[in-house]
């Protein structure tokens, strides 16, 4: 039926169209390939470990991750640092605490602590960042449309300001950010900014950006591998169940005129 075909076409177009609606003239991030995509996708442990290092040495100077504990770093499905490595990582962060005299102090982190903010509070963070707030990065990949591609594009997308563009003082030109000017200065500025252990690819700006995005994808969805594995099992089970029920149904109705 023509009408139905028309309807189906309109449905398809409209669905695709919603995604494109109302984005203004901001540059769309280019799609990248990520290891965790697809039904069998997994995180790359080495990549998550490198990404952690970029986070710690670069991003942690401004950002926090208050939903992620250090102990998560050695859990299955993540960077899977050894227990000892994870404890050392925790101890390398200073976290706010209260000592036994009631004084506010900083102490070394323990596995149960969360990734702390380098600032005592939001006002201090804003004061240090041109009145912009370095958001918590725990779920940032899920909190942005097309999150992984967007953050990769954002981190690698800083460019010279076009002559016709009116840049406000203290902001940086970045065509991927809504409004095209962002308070965060380019965090990844030179190749080799982070030194990785032997056996890892060279620390180019692009590689560091990819790896820190992978790390943030894991912090946003730490149960991703468990979820996909269970998903494959559930789908196989349901497929088998559907086939059995289909034949039971056909068999039963064989003698009924319908």
């Amino acid at each position: 039926m023509k009408l139905k075909a028309l309807l189906a076409l309109a449905a398809g177009l409209a669905l695709a169209g919603v995604a494109y609606a109302a984005e203004g003239d901001v540059k769309h991030p280019e799609p990248q390939k990520w290891s965790w995509e697809g039904a069998f996708g997994k995180f790359d442990r080495q990549q998550l470990q490198r990404g952690y290092q970029v986070y710690k040495e670069v991003c942690a100077a401004c950002h926090a991750m208050h939903l992620v504990s250090f102990r998560n770093l050695s859990q299955p499905g993540g960077p899977e640092f050894s227990e000892a490595q994870m404890k050392a990582i925790a101890a390398s962060f200073q976290v706010p605490a209260i000592d036994d005299k009631g004084e506010v102090i900083q102490r070394a982190g323990i596995p149960a602590d969360r990734f702390p903010s380098p600032f005592p509070n939001e006002t201090a963070a804003r004061a240090a960042n041109n009145n912009a707030y370095p958001v918590d990065l725990s779920v940032i990949v899920k909190a942005r449309h097309d999150g992984a591609n967007y953050i990769y594009a954002l981190l690698t997308g800083y460019a010279d300001t076009p002559s016709e563009f009116q840049l406000l003082p203290g902001l940086n030109y970045n065509p991927y950010f809504p409004g095209k000017q962002i308070a965060m200065p380019a965090p990844l500025v030179s190749d080799g900014q982070v030194t990785w252990p032997e056996g890892n690819p060279p620390a180019t700006k692009e590689q560091m950006a990819r790896d820190v995005v992978a790390f943030l994808a894991w912090t946003a969805e730490p149960k991703l591998e468990e979820r996909k594995l269970m998903g494959v099992q559930v789908m196989i089970f349901l497929l088998g169940l559907s086939v059995l029920l289909y034949f039971a149904y056909k068999r039963l109705w064989r003698d009924v005129d319908h």
Binding site: A10, V18, K142, V232, V234
Partner: protein
């Protein structure tokens, strides 16, 4: 009448004893096993069973979520994330619940449009149809209340936009809105009462579902031919015939559902809801969940707030009038050549309204795949809204009077035999 005399025979001393005191096994046997069901039901008739499953899925997953969820403005967002990270299989429960709501609505829309196509709202099923509308309204309320609970940006701003519509009511609007909020804005007291009501309403739904099924079991099922059951040759017992057929359909439905739960759990949600609620930052584009979009387009199609709200509720209220607006004596659109086309046009109109509901709220021209169409979004929404109401209020009564339906078969079994005969003649 679909009901015959009860055929249940207690088989042992205990069931005989119970049967003469509380004949509950007899009741279940009559209504869920022997219940005579037209033998020509197609897959569109399985969505009722699917809806029952989804209600149970939502209630069970919701009760488990409520064991860990904290309804407080400073804790709600993090408590949901804690469920996702630290509660055993919490991610599973939460993704089942959030995607379950969407699949519940997919099923209910297909179920309603099925009824529209096959004329299931006509006598003697008007009360059944009206109870269905009550369930749908309760579902809309429940979904809205639930969506505020994770207290992300869309939760907060969605709740703000929707509750603000009540302020359009003349004279008492502001008082009612503040009464709903429990405050002077959407805040912690709003969240806590929304949680309380979100817990309550699904059980109210379950109650109305019981009435709905009661009202179904008096006249019995409608069927794709839309004709009454004439005798035992037209029916089969519900069990095992429809338990297996529905079972198969439910398994396939769950396959689609599980694809989203396990492989694309955030596809039907909005990224902004992973940003904690912030009353100082308005999102660039506040959109409700997909299942409200057509109604949202109707609401925004009128500049006047009060009229918009009336129109939005009116868009559902016209369904309640439908049994009396439809003047045709033929139920199924299978035999109504004109109404059948109009049905698909209505589906198209609702779909476009949904599309428009997802657009930004301004009167710019519609941009479709980068191509600017020479028509404003507002005007388009107005045209489609007007058509929507015309369909029910004018076109349906007129077409019922003017259209000449195709001849309707005498009985379900005769129609089946005729179809079989034609098929074997063609293959010979």
């Amino acid at each position: 009448m679909a009901h015959g005399p009860s055929t249940y025979k207690p088989t042992n001393a205990f069931t005989r004893w119970l049967d003469s005191r509380l004949p509950i096994i007899r009741f279940l046997d009559d209504t869920m096993m022997q219940f005579p069901t037209p033998k020509n039901l197609n897959y569109w008739f399985t969505f009722g069973g699917i809806l029952m499953i989804m209600l149970v899925v939502q209630i069970i997953s919701g009760i488990v979520l409520a064991m860990h969820y904290v309804p407080h403005e400073t804790l709600a967002f993090d408590s949901v994330e804690r469920i996702m990270r630290d509660v055993n299989y919490g991610w599973l429960i939460r993704y089942i619940h959030s995607n379950g709501a969407s699949f519940f609505f997919i099923a209910v829309y297909l179920h309603i449009f099925r009824g529209l196509y096959y004329g299931s709202y006509k006598a003697p099923r008007e009360v059944l149809w009206l109870l269905g509308i009550v369930i749908y309204l309760l579902m809309m309320a429940t979904g809205f209340l639930g969506y505020t609970l994770p207290w992300g940006q869309m939760s907060f701003w969605g709740a703000t936009v929707i509750t603000n519509f009540f302020s359009a009511i003349p004279f008492v609007g502001e008082a009612i809105t503040q009464w709903l909020w429990g405050s002077f804005a959407v805040d912690n007291s709003t969240l806590q009462r929304f949680f309380s009501l979100h817990y309550l309403l699904p059980f109210v739904i379950a109650g109305v579902v019981i009435l709905h099924i009661w009202a179904l079991h008096v006249p019995g099922n409608n069927n794709p031919l839309g004709i009454d059951v004439k005798g035992p040759a037209d029916t089969v017992p519900f069990h095992p015939y429809y338990t297996t057929k529905d079972g198969f359909a439910i398994a396939v439905f769950l396959l689609f559902f599980c694809y989203f739960v396990f492989f694309n759990p955030n596809f039907l949600g909005h990224a902004d809801n992973y940003i904690p609620a912030n009353r100082l930052v308005t999102p660039a584009h506040i959109v409700p969940e997909w299942y409200y979009l057509p109604l949202y387009a109707v609401l925004r199609s009128v500049p006047d707030k009060l009229f918009g709200v009336i129109l939005m509720f009116g868009a559902i209220f016209v369904w309640a009038l439908l049994p009396w607006l439809d003047t045709s004596r033929v139920r199924s659109n299978k035999f109504r050549p004109i109404m059948r086309q109009l049905f698909w046009i209505l589906m198209f109109v609702i779909f476009i309204l949904g599309y428009l509901g997802a657009q930004t709220a301004d009167d710019s021209n519609l941009v479709f795949f980068g191509i600017e169409l020479p028509i404003g979004k507002l005007l388009l929404a107005q045209i489609f809204t007007i058509y929507y109401f015309l369909h029910f209020l004018v076109i349906t009564p007129l077409v019922g009077l003017l259209e000449t339906p195709h001849p309707v078969p005498e009985s379900i079994s005769k129609a089946v035999l005729a179809k079989k005969g034609a098929a074997s003649a063609a293959s010979a």
